[in-house]
C-alpha cells in the first residue's frame, strides 16, 4: 500500500516528514527549531484545566457517595460501582449504545464522504448543495427530534409514510418510533441525516488540502478516476478520516439529546442508551452519586475505544 502510493504521489504533501526538504541527515541544531516552545500549549492547558479537568476531577468524588443531587450525602465507597454491574437497565443500554454508534459511524461517514467527493467537483450547483447538506447540522438536536416526530408520524397519509405512499412505496410504511425493534434505527437515521453534512465538511477540509497538481500528474500518468481516488485522494484524506471516525464514535457513544427527545428511551426501554440512563439516574430518579459512577464507567469505556481507534488510525495515517 505504502509503496504504490509513494510511486503515484511523489513527495506527497499530506504526510508529515514526507516533504521534499526533510531528511535524516539534517544537523541537530536545526532540529531544535522544529519543536515549538512549550509556552504555545500553556494557554490551552490552563483554560482546559479550569473548565474541564478540575471540575471533572472534583465531580468524580460524587461517584463514591449516595448523593441525590440535593441536600447532604455520605460516602458509600464502591457501592455504586457494584450496583452498576447488577443493573439490568444499564447493561441492556450498552448493547443499544454500541449498535447505535456502529450504525451512525459507518453510515454517517460513508454518506459524508460521498457527499464531499460529489460536491468537490466542477458541478454547477456545488455551493448550493454544500449548503443543503450542511443545513441540518445547524439546527439544535432537540429541535431536530421534535421536527422528525412529524416526519415519523405513523398515520398512513402523514409525513414519511405519506411520502412513501405517494411515490408508490406504500408497502415500506412503518411505525417508525413506535415499533420497539425499529425505534433505535429511526433515531440513527435522524442522526445520520443531521450529521452527514458535518462529516462532509471535515472531509472537504481534507480534500481542499489535496493539491490539484497531484491529480493532474496522475491523470497524465494515465490513472483512471478510481485509481486517482484510491492512490491520490484517499491517502491524503487520512487526517480527515481520523477526525471524522473519532468524533462520530465518541459522539455516538455519548449521544443523548436526539435519543432523549425523540424516544425518551422507549417504547418501553427499547432505545435506552447509556447516556439516557445516566441522565435519568441523575435528574429524573435523583441518584446523582450513582449516575456519576455510570458516567465514569461510560467515560472509561469511550476512552478505551477511542484510544485503540486513535492508535490504529494514526499508524494508518503514517503508512497510508
Amino acid at each position: 500500500m505504502t509503496s504504490t502510493s509513494e510511486k503515484t504521489v511523489p513527495g506527497a504533501v499530506g504526510t508529515a516528514g514526507g516533504g521534499p526538504k526533510t531528511g535524516r541527515g539534517r544537523p541537530v541544531r536545526h532540529r531544535d527549531h522544529a519543536v515549538p516552545h512549550w509556552l504555545f500549549v500553556v494557554p490551552a492547558l490552563v483554560v482546559y484545566s479550569i473548565v474541564v479537568l478540575c471540575p471533572s476531577l472534583a465531580g468524580v468524588m460524587y461517584a463514591f457517595t449516595d448523593w441525590s443531587g440535593i441536600g447532604g450525602f455520605s460516602f458509600t465507597g464502591t457501592e455504586n460501582f457494584r450496583t452498576l454491574f447488577d443493573d439490568g437497565r444499564a447493561l441492556e443500554s450498552v448493547t443499544n449504545t454500541l449498535l447505535l454508534t456502529i450504525a451512525v459511524v459507518v453510515v454517517q461517514n460513508g454518506i459524508g464522504l460521498l457527499l464531499a467527493l460529489g460536491v468537490h467537483t466542477g458541478i454547477k450547483s456545488r455551493a448550493l448543495l454544500r449548503l443543503i447538506f450542511f443545513a441540518p447540522a445547524v439546527v439544535s438536536p432537540v429541535m431536530v427530534a421534535i421536527l422528525w416526530k412529524y416526519v415519523y408520524n405513523p398515520e398512513n397519509g402523514a409525513g414519511l409514510n405519506g411520502l412513501l405512499g405517494a411515490v408508490g412505496l406504500g408497502s415500506l410504511r412503518q411505525d417508525w418510533l413506535g415499533d420497539p425493534s425499529l425505534a433505535l434505527w429511526s433515531v440513527a437515521a435522524m442522526v445520520v441525516w443531521q450529521y452527514a453534512g458535518y462529516s462532509m465538511v471535515v472531509f472537504l477540509a481534507g480534500l481542499q488540502g489535496v493539491p490539484a497538481e497531484l491529480h493532474e500528474a496522475a491523470r497524465i500518468d494515465g490513472a483512471g478516476s478510481w485509481q486517482r481516488f484510491r492512490y491520490v485522494t484517499w491517502p491524503l484524506l487520512a487526517p480527515a478520516l481520523t477526525i471524522n471516525l473519532m468524533l462520530s464514535t465518541i459522539g455516538g457513544l455519548k449521544l443523548f439529546d436526539q435519543v432523549y427527545a425523540a424516544t425518551n428511551g422507549g417504547p418501553g426501554t427499547s432505545s435506552e442508551t447509556l447516556s439516557t440512563v445516566l441522565y435519568k439516574e441523575a435528574f429524573v430518579y435523583g441518584k446523582f452519586g450513582y449516575s456519576t459512577a455510570v458516567a465514569l464507567v461510560l467515560a472509561l469505556f469511550v476512552a478505551a475505544v477511542s484510544l485503540v481507534q486513535l492508535r490504529y488510525l494514526r499508524a494508518r495515517e503514517v503508512t497510508a
Binding site: G17, F40, V52, F134, I146, W148, Y150
Partner: protein
C-alpha cells in the same frame, strides 16, 4: 500552479478532458440526494408558516394560505433581537479564543507527537470523552464564585474550555499532515517561533480553521442547556433560550417555535456560505505561501 489559480475547488473532473455527460449525471444524482435531504427542511419551513390549527389539520402540506406572522411573533415574543446580539457576542468571542488558543496549543502537540506531547494530546482528547455531567456542578459553583453567572464572560469561559479539546483535536490532526519544512525554513531564516507560526503555519491552516469556526459556531449557537443554567432570567439570554421557552408539555405553538428556529439558523448558514468561499480561496493561496 495552473489549475489552482481558478476560483473553484481544485479537483478532478473540472471537465477539460473528461466527457461532459459524466458531470451532468453526477450533478443530477447529487441534486436527487439533496431533495431527499431537503424533506425535513421542507417540513420545518412549512410548519413555521402555519398556525396551530393548520399544523393540526395538515402538518406537512403546503401552507395555504402561508402565515408569515409566526416570524414576527417569534421575533418579538422570544425577544430574538437582543438574543441575537447576545448569541453573536458569545459565539464570536469564544470562537476567537478557541482559534488562538486551540491552534497554538495544537501546533505544539502536533510537532511534539511523542512522550509528553502525546500525553498532553491524550489528556485533551479525554475532554471530548468525558460526559459533561461529571464536572457540571463543580463548574457551576466555580462560575458562581467568580460572580460570572448572567454574564458574557462566564459563557465565553465555558465554551472556550468545553470546546477546546475538540478544537485542539481538529487542529492537531491537520497540522500533523503539514510538512514541518516551511516553518523550519522560516526559523532558519531568523524568524522566532511566534513569527513562524503566525506568518507561515497559521495561513496554511485556513481550510481547517474554517472547519473549526463553523463546527464550533454550530455547537455554541445551538447550545441550550448551559445558557439556561448560567444566563436564565438575565438580560444576556441567548437565542435557543428564547425559543425553547415556548415548548410546553401541555400547550405549545410549534409554528412559532419553528419560525424562531428558522430565524436562528440563518446567521449560521450565512457564515457557512461565506466560510466555504474563504476556505476554498484560502487553499489556493495557502500552498503558494
Amino acid at each position: 500552479m495552473s489549475t489552482s489559480t481558478t476560483r473553484g475547488p481544485a479537483a478532478p473532473g473540472r471537465g477539460r478532458r473528461r466527457p461532459r455527460y459524466g458531470r451532468y449525471v453526477l450533478e443530477l444524482v447529487m441534486i436527487a440526494v439533496a431533495v431527499v435531504f431537503l424533506f425535513p427542511v421542507y417540513a420545518l419551513i412549512t410548519l413555521a408558516m402555519k398556525d396551530p390549527r393548520q399544523i393540526s389539520e395538515s402538518p406537512l402540506a403546503l401552507p395555504s394560505p402561508p402565515t408569515f406572522g409566526n416570524f414576527g411573533d417569534a421575533w418579538s415574543s422570544a425577544s430574538l433581537g437582543p438574543a441575537l446580539v447576545n448569541s453573536t457576542v458569545i459565539t464570536t468571542v469564544s470562537l476567537l479564543l478557541l482559534i488562538v488558543i486551540g491552534s497554538t496549543g495544537a501546533y505544539y502537540l502536533a510537532r511534539c507527537a511523542r512522550g509528553l506531547g502525546y500525553g498532553l494530546y491524550i489528556l485533551f482528547l479525554l475532554g471530548i470523552v468525558l460526559p459533561f455531567q461529571l464536572g457540571m456542578i463543580p463548574l457551576y459553583r466555580l462560575v458562581d464564585d467568580l460572580g460570572w453567572l448572567g454574564t458574557y464572560q462566564g459563557m465565553v469561559l465555558f465554551y472556550t474550555g468545553i470546546q477546546l479539546p475538540f478544537t485542539v483535536f481538529l487542529y492537531t490532526g491537520f497540522i500533523r499532515a503539514l510538512p514541518p519544512d516551511y516553518a523550519q525554513a522560516a526559523l532558519i531564516d531568523g524568524c522566532n517561533h511566534r513569527q513562524a507560526f503566525t506568518r507561515i503555519v497559521f495561513p496554511l491552516l485556513r481550510p481547517i480553521t474554517g472547519t473549526v469556526v463553523i463546527l464550533n459556531a454550530v455547537f455554541i449557537w445551538n447550545d441550550f442547556f448551559t445558557p439556561l443554567l448560567y444566563l436564565g432570567g438575565s438580560d444576556k439570554e441567548t437565542v435557543p433560550v428564547g425559543i425553547f421557552a415556548f415548548v410546553g408539555q401541555y400547550v405549545s405553538d410549534y409554528g412559532l417555535v419553528f419560525a424562531g428556529l428558522v430565524l436562528a439558523a440563518l446567521p449560521i448558514l450565512i457564515v457557512f456560505v461565506v466560510l466555504q468561499r474563504y476556505v476554498i480561496k484560502g487553499f489556493a493561496g495557502g500552498l503558494k505561501g
